[in-house]
């Protein structure tokens, strides 16, 4: 793809940043203006991300579009190049050289995996602003930091330069810390905010060292034995003409990975393979943010402590940032490492799914239920990545979107109930369907999605993951001594399907106790129905669940087209 000219994605990053700075300069007492700037910026971003999503949809599906080209390539039987396919799949690109001598560029673009994420972030941004409409304490600062957070999240999704990915990843962490510590639930916020920040930073800085190592390994390869590969790639237009051997471009690093630049031994130690050594750092480093067991511990506390808008963006989008970055910088850049490590990491994701659901079942606090359910559902995403086949990984891609909208909806619901009832203790709530019918309906929709009811997006996501996992036992071999562990992936599927049953149990329990049953009119006398802003939140987040559930082709082919380059890299057809 050509990488010139102004991209709409640049506007998507810079609108929130500019809005955030502007908000900081506004008069703190003029709350309407602060909210106005916030909601305008967020709506503009949502509009642009819709444009990106449908623009990319068009790019994929039109005659001669990406899918037809990929299909033609698959049928022609030529040897597939993952880097070539990835470069092909990028759209809305813009590239501006940032630090030339180090090969760092401001390079944005979307592919099939990131386009739905951009849309998701836009949705949650608007929802987050609307649900924070009535924050009393320092609204100006809250809104500004929220905008910076949104910009950081967008940046990670659209980065085609690994350095830029890190830059925005770290950029998102700090406003998140302040938002949770400053505006969260005061019993837990300081502890939870610090824990969350440190967990996530530990993961990402270790990944950063790995990325630097990759940068030098790839640079040495392209400057030395791979010079012809490099020149061919520049000549054929996969890499821009002003590329250097040392570069942070994800396309170029993918090319290096594909040609074995990361198959070297580290420090000349025999058997210490570069890709195998660094893969856990890259995948787990970002996996921390995706809540992969045993690094999930920050997540429930963090989500519970955060103010509603931040819980929404955190569970809804930031956990996907982790899963996405793990895919981009782990699986895509170190496929050899993925083939070694993902087969056993599957078992970690299984623990995520079942253990998360079990703990969610035991919670009395409404918000903790949702927090642990996120751990459980994000386990499915990681499990999908670990299948390393088209079906499973596509399912995981859909799950990212589906869970993002669903969990943001859940946290919105919890926030609305809590704001009015001032308690999140499930047994003491009850009968809220009568006073807050909108909220009740939204919760039921989200709940049905989360238990994988056909007709809603959860089913479209979870079913392929299980299917892919089942199929994986034929593609992956994992030996434990003489014992062929990978033959039992089907058992693993059965166990994780149990997680869905447990999910159904806790969703029904919460729905039954909170929204149905007896309404304590005396205690909750001042609980009324929700306002217009809140209704818009529920509509924005709830409707995609239904639309995607009823009409999967709106997203599934797109994600599939984004997964195919990875499959080619992983050596599949």
């Amino acid at each position: 793809m050509e990488a010139t000219g102004f991209s709409i994605l640049t506007a998507i990053i810079f609108i929130p940043i500019i809005a955030g700075v502007v908000i900081l300069f506004l008069d703190r007492k003029n709350r309407d203006l602060v909210r106005g700037v916030g909601v305008t910026a967020a709506s503009a971003v949502l509009a642009l991300s819709l444009a990106v999503f449908f623009g990319y949809d068009n790019f994929v599906k039109t005659g001669g579009g990406l899918i037809e080209r990929q299909t033609a390539m698959l049928e022609s039987g030529i040897e597939l190049s993952g880097a070539q396919m990835f470069a092909d799949a990028l759209a809305f690109e813009q590239r501006v050289v940032w630090v030339e001598s180090l090969g760092i560029a401001y390079h944005v673009g979307v592919d099939g995996v990131s386009a739905p994420m951009v849309l998701l972030t836009g949705m949650v941004a608007v929802a987050g602003v609307l649900i924070s409409w009535n924050i009393e304490d320092r609204l100006r600062e809250f809104m500004a930091f929220f905008m910076f957070l949104v910009a950081g999240v967008f940046g990670v999704f659209i980065a085609v330069d690994l350095f830029m990915l890190f830059f925005f990843y770290e950029l998102a962490i700090f406003p998140m810390y302040l938002l949770i510590a400053g505006w969260g639930w005061d019993k837990l916020r300081e502890y939870a905010a610090m824990k969350l920040t440190l967990y996530i930073l530990v993961g990402s800085v270790f990944a950063l060292v790995g990325a630097v190592a990759m940068y030098f390994a790839a640079g040495a390869y392209f400057a030395g034995s791979g010079a012809d590969v490099f020149e061919a790639a520049v000549a054929s237009g996969i890499l821009p003409a002003d590329s250097r051997p040392h570069s942070w471009s994800i396309v170029q690093l993918t090319l290096a990975a594909e040609n074995g630049a990361f198959g070297i031994d580290i420090l000349g130690i025999e058997g210490l393979n570069f890709a195998k050594f660094w893969f856990p750092f890259m995948f787990m480093g970002f996996g921390v943010l995706a809540g992969v067991f045993p690094f999930h511990n920050w997540s429930p506390d963090g989500h519970v402590a955060a103010p509603t808008a931040v819980s929404m963006i955190h569970a809804g989008v930031l956990m996907k940032v982790g899963a996405f970055a793990a895919l981009r910088s782990g699986v895509q850049l170190l496929p050899e490492g993925a083939e070694t490590h993902l087969p056993w990491m599957v078992f970690l994701t299984l623990i995520n799914v079942v253990y998360g659901a079990l703990i969610a079942f035991r919670q009395r606090d409404f918000k903790y239920v949702i927090g642990f359910s996120s751990v459980s559902h994000m386990g499915l995403v990681s499990m999908g990545w670990a299948t390393m086949n088209l079906t499973g990984m596509t399912g995981a891609g859909i799950q990212m979107f589906s869970h993002g909208a669903m969990t943001a909806l859940f946290f919105g619901v919890v926030g609305m109930v809590y704001d009015r009832s001032h308690t999140r203790d499930i047994p003491s709530l009850g009968g809220f369907m009568k006073v807050m019918p909108w909220v009740g309906v939204a919760f039921v929709i989200g709940g049905l999605t989360s238990m994988g009811m056909p007709g809603l997006s959860g089913f479209i996501a979870e079913f392929p993951i299980f299917q892919g996992m089942w199929a994986a036992s034929e593609q992956i071999t994992l030996q434990l001594g003489a014992f062929q562990l990978s033959n039992y992936y089907s058992v693993l599927v059965v166990i994780s399907a149990l997680g869905i049953v447990i999910t159904a149990a806790y969703v029904l329990r919460v729905a039954g106790q909170v929204f149905f049953g007896e309404f304590d009119a005396e205690r909750f006398h001042d609980v009324g129905n929700i306002e217009m802003t809140d209704r818009i939140v529920l509509i924005i987040l709830g409707s995609p669940l239904i639309i995607l559930g009823l009409y999967p082709p709106i997203m599934a082919p797109m994600i599939e087209s984004g997964i195919r380059p990875l499959i080619a890299l992983l050596g599949g057809g």
């Binding site: 810390y177 930073l201 060292v209 420090l267």
Partner: protein
Amino acid sequence: MDFDLWAQLPSVLPEIGLTVLAVVVLFADIYGSVATRRNVVFVSAAGMALLALVPLIWQPDPALYEHGILLWGGMVNYDPLSQIFKVMLLLAGAVTCLMAAGDKGVGDKGEFYLIVIVATLGGLMMSSAADLILVFVALETLSIPLYMLASFRRGDQRSAESGMKYFLYGAFASAIMLFGFSLLYGFAGTTNLAGIADAMSNGLGDGVVAVMTALVMVVVGFGFKISAVPFHFWTPDVYEGAPTPVTAFVSVSSKAASFALLLRFLTAVFPADLAVAGVVIQDFWVNLLVVVSIVSMTLGNVVALRQSNIKRLLAYSSIAQAGYTLIGVVALQGANDSLAVASVSFYMFMYIFTNLLVFGAVILFIAKTDTEEISDMAGLNRRSPWLALFITIGLLSLGGIPPAAGFFGKFFLFQAAVNSNLVGLALIAVTNAIIALYYYLVVIKVMYVDVGPDDDVPIGIPRVYGCSLGITAFIVILLGTVAVTPIYDWAALGASGL
């Protein structure tokens, strides 16, 4: 060689300018009217800021510094490394003057600016010195004014104590370093830095222990100046006791100038190909500095966790920062030393502005509230949103979080380390960066989350002061985003002159 004054003049023009400025300030302070004296601060600040343009305008000719260019009888280096450090030192001096302006007992005395200018002069000479004699003279020209500054508030016991402590430690370290110099001169028979290396590689026989002794002695001196462990003991006390504008100045100028000199000294006197009696000297100092670096950052960060006084916290943080920067020095062992040199120069460039920003904001806080305890910063965001924001940006930069400049600074250091096969060191450094982030975040949390007793008492920022803080904060953000390329490329040139 013919002496061509006009060709050689630009190399020392900033120093000459500073000398003139110092004389002007001295006379204005002594003979000037009250109004003139009040404006001394602006004369000093503007003078130094203008002089910072000189190294930018008269850049050395690339063709010359490729072969090493020594001017003024082999005393002065005229290369990009010295130029970039001169610019940052001059800017640091200018910002310090502005920040001291309102400080009672410090900024209202004309001689304060005079001493700052002379100290800056010493720093400038250090960054371009090419001869042992000039190195030592420059070092003392920088140090002695700093001792005076530390005890500037004569009536204050803490200030006097800090000046005395600084002086005693400093004199001791200087003496050891001078002893090291004399040993080097004894081996080589020349005081020229490059000449020493040549002489040592030819005719030393088996004097390897002696060379290493001299090396260790020199490292002790530098270790003191950059406050690396185990020569850091003066740092917390001096930082805490000295008037805060002085602390800001001490923490940046002496450190930056010392790192410039350290880079030059190690590459010139103990280059990679220097082997005495078959022992490669570079391996020795690399290992030595790796240990110093690890110990400095770990100790600095761990002890900083326990601090309740903001100035002491920043003191321990600056010890840790010295440890990080040493990574870049150690990375000189790699094949591509432009990465290493550039990382150190860039780090110092951004560190100067970052530290001045933090200290500048803290100075104001201390002046307005008369307390240095972190817990008293509670609710600062409500009392003065801008002050809280400035401190936050500064601390984020120290912690290495984008978009503040520290992210790129740390990144370049880690990159240089990985390139020199020091992955282990890089991993230790990132672990340290996380420890450090904890205590920076605690300060930020106190300002934004905690509720203090004086929440409703706003803190006003004087206009000039606010502008200088705002500009500094803006530079910190710029250095972390769009201004990275020019500064980094310039810094990378520095290696070619070594």
